[in-house]
Symmetry: C2
Subunit: 307 residues, 2 copies
Amino acid sequence: MTSSDVTAAAGRIAPHVIRTPVLRHDVLDDWAGCRVVAKAEHLQGAGAFKLRGATNAVLLLDEVTAARGVAAHSSGNHGAALALAGSRRGVPVTVVMPADAPEVKKRAVAGYGATIMECAPWLAARESTLAEVVATTGATEIHPYDNPDVIAGAGTAALELVDQAPDLDVVMAPVGGGGLISGTSLASHGIDHRIRVIGAEPERADDAARSLAAGTLIPQTAPDTMADGLRTALSARTFSIISAHVERIITISEDEIVAALRLCWDELGWRIEPSAAVAIAALRHPGVGGDVGVILTGGNVPRDGRW
Amino acid sequence: MTSSDVTAAAGRIAPHVIRTPVLRHDVLDDWAGCRVVAKAEHLQGAGAFKLRGATNAVLLLDEVTAARGVAAHSSGNHGAALALAGSRRGVPVTVVMPADAPEVKKRAVAGYGATIMECAPWLAARESTLAEVVATTGATEIHPYDNPDVIAGAGTAALELVDQAPDLDVVMAPVGGGGLISGTSLASHGIDHRIRVIGAEPERADDAARSLAAGTLIPQTAPDTMADGLRTALSARTFSIISAHVERIITISEDEIVAALRLCWDELGWRIEPSAAVAIAALRHPGVGGDVGVILTGGNVPRDGRW
């Protein structure tokens, strides 16, 4: 993949996604000790940057394939994003969700007209149920991050950010499966290879940091973080892009996530989800400075969130 | 007052307030039946447009007056805004708050370094306590809306909105004491007198609608709405500006406020307060159409808000 995949995706999805605003706040600058520009993907359709990748993937299907539908397993933002992207093209969408997924997530997926297939709440059950859906319906699986079209779509957020806030020294994003930081790094370096791309990852789901340190892909073991969007593991594809383009991965404690969430909700009025707060928390770490762009990945939290 | 007061305020406060983004969303356009551009003042410093008026008023004080401090009674956004505006100029701020004001509001005011004077939770007690503060300290009272400098500051949100989204047919804002809609109408008509300025008010606090219908100022009686920022009553000053510039006031039921809040929180990801939802609800009313700008007044709600 190259930055031109991201540029092509940007043109393709522009009519279907929100060009989200960038936000600044003195209080954040003081807290972080640098000048911060935040890309407000919590204001994106379906509440997260995930709509970009899902839309790009759905638009790239040929007519015959599209008619058979798309499918994914997801308990989170990718499912809702795929449901919305599919509904806009009139493509049938099936989302495999664990039976214990939050009601609010199920309602979002169902509200966009997708079919929900419930399964037992472990990965093997999700994968076998999804395989069954694909075998039965001929639907195309759209993986939440290990998919070049999804990665290219995710990178369009950074492409807009660098356009809205020129001359950034650093671009930061949280790391789960690595799709966002992969697209972000391709987009950023396509514009200016001197931009430092830095990832942020929970200490309790730190496979990317360990993989980058070891120089080889190390599996995620027992992720246990409140940043539920970042419990996923790198793929060979995202590890390869990250190795080439990402300067470092900063790891963040659960206490730091809570502190960043409180800052965003109570001081800035930014109602972001814990995964997004991971990148905010990383702003304070040594070595981050100058003009820093950060991607606020999403805002899908229960209304009664407490931290 | 004229639109030039708003223009002057805009230049004065620009370094001290956020030029908030404007937001659009297909889902809102479909719901409202018109093209909507929303001015995101819930992302303003201190969480509401109130920072604009408070900042303008504080900056206009001469050195000697400023040194004696400013004071207001407020259980809501004006108190926090004045506290923040004062702290930035190093002006002592006293906010008179009812003893039963929410802890989160008290913390915000105290967090910006203001002195809180508690009083009994009725208007007479607030006013007498404030009068005492003013008499004792020589502080200048900054009224939350019956003050030309505050009105001019409030109008700067609309000035930015009309700049960010040219060619609006309608500009809408909620109406409480009438400061925001006064400034909004002056700003809008200063740019293009053909812009239709429409207010939105809770049915259960409808003194502006009744006053406009009667052609004379009718007192607010027993306001009882969840839109706590809109329980205040017009002053002679705001009634006079509204009479000259505002086409009509649409009244909104409590059920409509709840429906608009749910749309904003659950579908759009806009975490606004009930007062802001009043103007969103008004978008669906007959006679509102074309390109419509609406001011989202604030986002100061408890994290565990339920509706």
